[in-house]
């Protein structure tokens, strides 16, 4: 099983989505982690990932960032 990380902190939309999609298209299946630092980025990345068939398996949120664990 492959695991990869996208660090999209400090980037504004649509960049977190585009970085995530780029990895999603390379990886096809498995697990990946996306780190974002805004609620809007979190929602947009999740919508884009779900439209590609990926699901959120876990989310870890702190005051400054959110780690989204995606799986397919």
């Amino acid at each position: 099983m492959t695991e990869s990380i996208v660090d999209a902190r400090g980037l504004s939309c649509p960049q977190p989505v585009l970085l995530s999609l780029s990895l999603i298209k390379k990886q096809k299946t498995g697990e990946l982690t996306v780190i974002v630092d805004s609620q809007v980025s979190k929602e947009n990345v999740l919508r884009a990932a779900q439209s590609e068939g990926w699901n959120l398996s876990k989310a870890e949120e702190s005051r400054t960032e959110c780690r989204l664990f995606l799986k397919k």
């Binding site: 939309c13 649509p14 585009l18 999609l21 947009n44 884009a48």
Partner: protein
């Protein structure tokens, strides 16, 4: 008005070429034209009316209201006065309430374009006012919709993401706010920009 809405109104006004009176205080009032404006209370009524009137083949355009008009929402519909009865009939039939119909002063400003197009390689983004839409070039799929601050933006994103740009419903059919209208502008510009 909350600051986020002030910002949205500012961008929409810029997009549509609306200026406040203090922007051009010396400009004299000129004569009346053969066109009129319809003033609505709600932006959603402007969007619905534009859709209905254009579908009926009428020559109407959404614009910013003249500075002296202080009632209604931040958008008006401009139309040839000769069509007033027909327009009233269409809007009445669809139960759309209009606040006022007035002859248009010909000093009204024309809309200007305020689009930002950004190429991200495999993706193309168009920004109109406060809204952005991003499409994957190879599939024409909408991959991101962002911006706004209006309550219908999450719904619009949900409806559009993962859909083909050329096959999905237009944002104007789903949105009811200034953000929805800005997204419609971005959507139309994206379709214009699309390489054939």
């Amino acid at each position: 008005m909350p600051p986020i809405f002030k910002k949205i109104v500012f961008f929409i006004k810029k997009t549509l070429g609306i200026k406040d009176p203090e922007d051009n205080p010396q400009k004299p009032m000129s004569g009346l034209s053969s066109r009129g404006i319809i003033i609505f209370e709600h932006t959603s009524d402007v969007i619905r009316s534009e859709t209905l009137l254009k579908a009926a083949g009428l020559d109407v355009r959404v614009k910013g209201p003249p500075p002296e008009i202080r009632t209604g929402c931040d958008l008006v519909i401009e139309f040839p006065l000769i069509l007033e009865l027909e327009i009233r009939e269409i809007l009445g039939r669809n139960r759309i309430k209009l606040m006022k119909i007035a002859p248009m002063q010909d000093h009204l400003l024309e809309p200007v374009s305020l689009f930002q197009v950004k190429d991200f390689g495999d993706y193309l983004m168009v920004r109109a006012a406060n809204m952005k839409i991003t499409v994957e070039k190879s599939t024409r799929w909408i991959v991101n919709v962002s911006g706004g601050g209006c309550p219908d933006v999450p719904y619009l994103s949900e409806q559009l993401i993962g859909k083909n740009l050329l096959e999905t419903s237009e944002p104007r059919a789903m949105g009811h706010t200034l953000c929805g209208y800005a997204l419609q502008l971005a959507y139309e510009e994206m379709k214009r920009q699309w390489p054939s």
